[in-house]
Amino acid sequence: MLGSVRRFIWRVVRRGRLDREMSDEFAHHIELRADDLVRAGLAEDDALRRARLEFGNVTAAQESAREAWGTQWIDRLRQDCRYALRTRRRNPGFASIAILSLGLGIGAVTAVFSVINALDFRPLPFKSADQLVWLAEVTPLGHDICSHCPFPTSGPTLHDWVAQSTSFSAVGAVSSGSFGWEHGDVTESLTAERATPGFFAMLGAYPTFGRGFVAADTVRGALPVAVVSYEFWEARLGGDPRFIGTQLTGRGGTRYTIVGVLPRGFRFRDDAAIWTPLQATGTGSRNDRLLTAVARLKPGRTLAQSNSELEAITRLIAGESPSDFRGWTVQVGTLRSLLTAPVGKGRFVLFAITVLVLIIALLNVAGLLLGRAVGREQEMAMRTALGAGRSSLFRQMLVEGACIGVTGGALGVWLAVWAVRAAPHWIALDAAGIAVSVDQRVLLFALVISLAVGTAAALLPALKIGSLDLNDALRRHVQNFSQQVARTSNVLIALQVAVALAVVTAAGILSRDFLEWRYFDLGYRPDSLYFTFVSGTGERAKDPAAWRLVAEGVRERIAAIPGIGSATLEYRNASHPTVVHPAEGTAQLSASQIPAVKGVDPTYFTTFGTPVLAGRNFGTTDGPGSASVAIVNRAAARAFWPGGSALGKRIFVGDSISNGELLIVVGVVEDAERGELEERHWPMVYRPMQQTKLYHAAAGLYVRCADCGNGALLAAERAVRESTGRSATPFKSVIDALDTQVVGRQSSAVILDAFAVFGLLLAAMGVYGSVAYAASRRVREIGIRVALGAPRRTVVQVVARRGLIVAGIGVGIGIVSALLLARVMRLLVVATSPMNGWILAGAALLMLCVAGVAAILPAIRATAGDVLIALRAD
C-alpha cells in the first residue's frame, strides 16, 4: 500500500519527465519505422509521412498513456481550479459575497473549535499529563453549593489518603486565595495560590530561577517564602533574577522572601501571580474542605483502580468520624475534568450555534450558486457541445464550490486567529488556565470544514446542471429549467428562514441566561455603588480603638461630601469565629451552612440597598453598653430555624464551644452575599461594629452616589488620604467589579447575540437574493399579464404573494423548530429563562418583510416601465 502510494507520488512529481520520455519513445518508434520503410524502398519523405500515419494520433496516445499512469486527475483538477478562478475573476461581486459569507461562518466555527480543541483534545501543558488525576470528595445530595459535585478535601483526609494509598507516585494539593501586596502606601490584591512542596515537580514545572517549595518551608516557625509567576516577575518585578532572595510585604506586614520564579506560561487553573507554601497537616477538621488534591498515577495504574482504593480508604475514615462524611463520597477524576469544570459547557452551546450560522452561510452560497447556474446554462451547454462530459461539468461545479470554500476558509482562519489572539478571555476560558491557540489540529479542522461546506454548497446547483437538457438550453428554451431551479431555490429560502429563526431563538434563550445572572438576585443595588479599601498605618493600626475612630471619622467625612448619598464600612470576616450556631436546638449544619460573621455599621444595609425583610436595622443605640444583637440573612435564618421565625432567637458566636457570646436576632435581611459565580448565597450573621471586639486594620469603604459627577469620589479619596495618612486605591464601581467576575458569561452572551444577529443578517441577505432573483425571472410573465390588461396592482400582489408564501412556509417551519429547540434546550442545557416570544416574532417579521420587499421591487420595476421592455426580457 505504502509502496504504491510512493510510486504514485513519484509519478506525479515526475510527470514532466515522463512526458518527455514518452515523446522520445514515440519519436524513436516513428524513426525506426521510417528506416524500415526506406529499406523497403520508399523515399525518405514518404517513409516518414507514412510512419507517422501508421502511428496514428500522437496526442490521443499520450492522453491514454497518461491515463495509464493514473495521474491524469491531477491535471484535470488543476484545470478545473484554474477555470474556477477565472470564473471568479469574471464575477467578483458574486465571489466576494460568497467568500465573505463562508469566511465569517467558518471563522466563527473555527474560533470556537480552537477553544474546544485546547480544553478537550490537546494534551494539558504538564509533564505526562494523562497520568495526572484529581482526588475529590463528592458533595452529598442537596448540598448547598452543588449536589453530587466534586469538591475539595480537608487536610486530615488528604493526609490519610497519602499515607494509605498505593496508586499514586506523587500527591500534592493547592488552595486558592488572594495576597495583599503592600507596596508604596497601597495594598494591592493579587491572585494567589498555595501549593504543597513537590506540587510543581509533580506537574513537571521546575522554577526558571531559584527553587520551588521544600518541606522545611512548611514547618512551624519557618521563614515565610513565596514563588512568583514568570509573568508577574517580568511585568511587576522588572524581570531581574537578582530579585530572588528579596522580600514582598503581605497583608499585616508579613515579609515573604521570594525563592523562585516559575517557568514562563505556567498556570494552574487560574492566573496566580504569587504562590506560598501549603502544609497539608493531619490536624484540623475534616469538614474544612479547602484543599484541591492532585496526584500522579503510578505507571500501569488505572483511574478505576485508584478510585476503588480511595473509596476503601475513605470508608474507613468516614467510619471514624461519621458526622463529617454524612452523604459524602469520593471520586478520582482526570485533571482535565478539574480544569475544565469551572468553564461549564458553554463552549459546546456556542459551537452548536456557530455551526447553525455556518449552515445559513452554506445555504446562502448554495442559493447564489444556483441562481448563477441558471445564468450559466448556455455556457455549460456550449462546453458540453465542445466535448465536456456531463461528469466533467458536475466535477467542475464541485471544484468551484471547493475553491470558494477554501478561500472562505482562509479568511475564516485569519479571523479565528485574530479572535483568539485579541480576546483570549472572551469565551470564559481563563478560568481553566489553559491557553487557547490555533494549532495544526484547528487548521486541519478548518480545511476539512471549508472543503466540505464549499462542495456541499455546490452540490445542489451541480445536480441541477446535470439534469439540464442541453439542446433546449442552447436554443434558449430555459423556462423549464428555471422553473425547476425556482422550486429548489424555494426550498433553500424556507430552510434558511427556518434555521435563522432557530438560531435567534436559541441565542435569545441562552444569552438571557448568561446576562440576567449578572444583576439577578444580588440582594443589593449595584448601580452607583463604589468601593475602596482603607487601612491604618504603623502604631495607630495596632490600636483597635484608635483605628476604629479614624475609620469612623473617614466615613462621616465622606458621607458629608455633597453628591455622596451614604457611606459605610465593611469589616469582612474581620475574625472568623469557628463556632456559630443557634443557642437553642440541635440543628445539624454542614460546613457550607455555617455563617460568616461581619461587623457593620447602621448605614450598611441602606448604603447597599439591601432590604430588611423582618425586624429592624441596627441603630446608633446598638452600642457597647446595650444588649448584643445580630441581623441574619435569609440563608442563615433558613439553616438555623427552618420553617420558623428568626426574630428574638439567640445565636452563639465564639472562638470555641466554651468561649463566645450570645446574640439576639433583631432583624432578617435579604441574601446579598455569594462567591464569584456561585449560585447560592452564603449564610451571614451581621453584628454592629460597635459591639464586636473584632480587630482589623483594614475595611472596605462603600459609597452610594446620589450625584458623583462633580468630583465627589475624588474628594472622598482626598478625605481618606488626609485622615489615614495613606492614599486610598481609587474608587471602583461595583458594577465594573461584577462585570469582571462575570466577564466570561457576559462576553459569551455578547458573542452569542452577535452570532445570532449575524446569522439573521446572513439569512436576510440570502432570502433577499433568492426571492428577488426568482421574481426577476418572472419579469416577462409580468409583462404578458400587463399587456393582456391585468391591473398593475394585481400583478404586483400576485408576485409578492408568491415570495411571501415561500418565506411564510419557512417562518412556519422555523417557529415550530424553534419551539421544539427551546423545549429540548430546557431539558438538556442549563437554560432556565423562558423563550422570548418577542425576539422570535421580530425575527419572523423581519424575514417576511425582506422576502416581501425582495419580491415586490422587481415586480414594481416591471409593471412601472414599458411593457415592451418587460416582454423582451429573459
Binding site: 524513436h28 496514428g56 490521443a60 496516445a61 491514454s64 499512469w69
Partner: protein
Amino acid sequence: MTDRKSVLPGTLDLLILRAVSLGRLHGYGVLLRVMQITRNELQIEQGALYPALYRLERQGLLAAEWGTSDNNRRAKFYQLTPDGRRRLQEESDMWRAMVRVMSAALHARPGEA
C-alpha cells in the same frame, strides 16, 4: 492491409507479454515481434501499443529500462518480470481453454451432446 483482422479486445496485453517473453525489446521491437508472431495477420494500431506497455509496466508485469538501441539511439527496453511471466502462463492457459471450448461449441452438431 484491409484484409487483416484487428486485435480482439483484451488480447493486446497477452500478445505484448508473449512478444516480450522472447527477449528484451524496445517499443518498435515489440510491434515488429507481435507482427512476426502473428504472421502479420493482425492489424495493430501502433499508437495504442504504448498505453498498453505503460499499463503493463504500472501493473508490474513488465520492467522498463533505458538503454542504447541498434541504431545507437537512447531507447526504452521492456522485459518480463517474474509476475509477468506468471501472468503470461495463466492467460495462455485460459486462452487455450477458451479456444478449445469455443471451437468445440462451434463444431458441435445437434444430438452429439
